[in-house]
């Protein structure tokens, strides 16, 4: 594709020529999948000749044909999700692209692999309207091929399999699903049919799709599919990080008797599911003494007694800081506990 010239070094004639060329190609609407079905290709011919020195009128003729319809669809998997037991609406994301040269719509099906030892419950299909990759209330539930409308050539949408994980599964178990997209004629619920043999002067239909992952999804059958796997993850990983800052009474950082040690414990949760009743217990180091009224959770001061607030200093377990963080998930902000002790 040429673009109109901008350099001054271009001759005016050439600029005009290139501009014309740009107009010429603009009609082509450069699509990766090719000339749209139904386009009439016209090739005119002109003949000029002379009798001796006398030019004769230009002769014109032309030939034309109509571009046939290539049906091609490509399904790709975007994610292999982790699923916690009893987790609802676990999304598995796919992309469905119209790689043919005419608008199409698609009948979609989530197919559980025959080798699966367990299956997800309440399996539904949604169009991921905000391309978030996760299931949202705003996503459109698939009913039939008409639900998501027509896709023009080169266009695609993200499809989510949303399903609920059974309660009985254990960590490490997997279940594979194929998303199968079957080409359906635009504006209808009629599955596209390839014209066998009988070519017409009009638009014929030819399947050129590849074989997909699903059983029975052959090449050139108007379907395509891709597979994803749900993997059960039950354990949330709780991680803790502890740092210490020394503040001596002379304004320095020397660990001398009388210096204050400020401990900071940061708790985060990764993985799927909920870490329930997280409790942090930290013994006060030997040869140090807790400085009263310095226990803080996320910067908020906690009383030292074992009472209604989340933490205590030696109240639950003598000589130990105890902070109850409750239920945490990977979405929870990092929990920060600080307390000060003095070197004896």
């Amino acid at each position: 594709m040429r673009t109109p010239a901008t350099r001054q070094t271009y001759a005016h004639l050439l600029i005009a020529a290139l501009a014309l060329a740009a107009c010429f190609w603009a009609g082509g609407t450069a699509q990766a999948v090719g000339t749209p079905a139904g386009t009439t290709i016209v090739c005119p011919v002109t003949v000029d000749y002379m009798f001796g020195v006398v030019p004769q009128p230009t002769l014109n003729a032309s030939t034309s044909f109509v571009v046939d319809r290539l049906v091609n669809v490509t399904v790709t998997k975007n994610s292999d999700p982790s699923a916690a037991p009893s987790q609802p609406n676990v999304p598995m994301s796919f992309r469905v692209t119209n790689t043919g040269n005419a608008p199409q719509r698609y009948a979609l099906q989530a197919v559980s692999r025959a080798t699966n030892t367990w299956t997800m419950n309440n399996v539904r299909l949604y169009r991921d309207n905000n391309s978030s990759g996760s299931w949202d209330a705003g996503d459109t539930l698939y009913v039939d091929a008409g639900t998501f409308g027509d896709l023009v050539s080169d266009a695609s949408f993200t499809v989510l399999i949303a399903a609920d994980t059974p309660a009985t599964v254990v960590s490490g178990q997997t279940a594979a699903y194929d998303l199968v997209a079957t080409s359906v004629d635009a504006g209808t619920l009629t599955v596209s049919v390839q014209m066998a043999g009988s070519n017409t002067a009009g638009v014929d239909t030819v399947f050129i799709d590849s074989a997909g992952s699903a059983v029975g999804d052959a090449a050139r059958d108007g379907k395509h599919s891709a597979a994803g796997t749900y993997t059960v993850v039950t354990a949330s990983a709780v991680s803790m990080n502890k740092t210490m800052l020394i503040l001596d009474q002379w304004g320095g950082n020397l660990p001398i008797p009388g210096a204050t040690l400020r401990y900071t414990i940061t708790v985060t949760v990764a993985g799927i599911g909920t870490a329930q009743n997280v409790v942090v217990s930290d013994p006060i180091p030997a040869n140090t003494t807790f400085i009263p009224a310095t226990l803080r959770l996320n910067a908020a001061l906690l009383t030292d007694a074992a009472d209604a607030d989340a933490g205590d200093a030696g109240g639950t377990t003598p000589g130990t800081m105890t902070v109850q963080l409750g239920n945490l998930t990977s979405a929870s902000p990092a929990q920060t506990i600080t307390f000060d002790v003095k070197i004896n």
């Binding site: 999948v33 016209v42 000749y49 009798f51 003729a61 571009v67 290539l70 017409t200 002067a201």
Partner: protein, 171 residues
């Protein structure tokens, strides 16, 4: 297209003429002594009973033509007249959505030239240059050609027949 009966065809042509609509896939004109007929065809390789492969050209309207397909455009001409026709020049644009395939323009007794400026100027393939977006001049490639011109080198005499053709790929 199915063959129509002669009567029916006559009526169709008459109706088409009344409506000022081109009557057929290819048009034919008889004027000044040259008959020009142009066709678009697809080459299909067939294997006969003896296992011999044969390339047949079939009208593009009767076979599947989808993106990627190669189409052969052929201009057939016949001349009839008392005096010779000189300076016979046949010109085709490379149609929109088509890409000319290098080295396919041919015609017996014809000089082939190409245009990269929509037919304003023509030159032999090795003389054509285009400027790319960065302003550098480069030799034109087949994909740059916008028009093809055949110049019949000898005057056409009464009864002379010939054809010129090229191949292009549907984008």
């Amino acid at each position: 297209m199915k063959k129509e009966g002669r009567m029916r065809q006559g009526i169709l042509v008459a109706v088409a003429a009344m409506l000022l609509v081109p009557a057929a896939v290819w048009a034919q004109q008889k004027k000044g002594g040259i008959d020009i007929k142009t066709v678009s065809e697809v080459e299909i390789t067939q294997t006969d009973a003896e296992g011999k492969k044969e390339v047949k050209r079939i009208d593009a309207t009767t076979v599947t033509v989808a993106p990627g397909q190669t189409v052969v455009f052929t201009n057939h001409f016949t001349y009839s007249g008392d005096k010779p026709a000189t300076d016979v020049v046949i010109k085709n644009p490379v149609s929109e959505h088509m890409i000319y395939m290098d080295g396919t323009a041919e015609g017996k007794g014809a000089r082939v030239e190409f245009s990269v400026d929509k037919g304003k100027t023509f030159a032999a393939a090795d003389k054509l240059k285009v400027k790319s977006a960065d302003g550098k001049e480069r030799r034109a490639t087949a994909a740059d050609y916008t028009n093809i011109r055949w110049t019949i080198e000898k005057p056409l005499q009464n009864g002379d027949k010939g054809s010129v053709s090229f191949k292009a790929r549907l984008k």
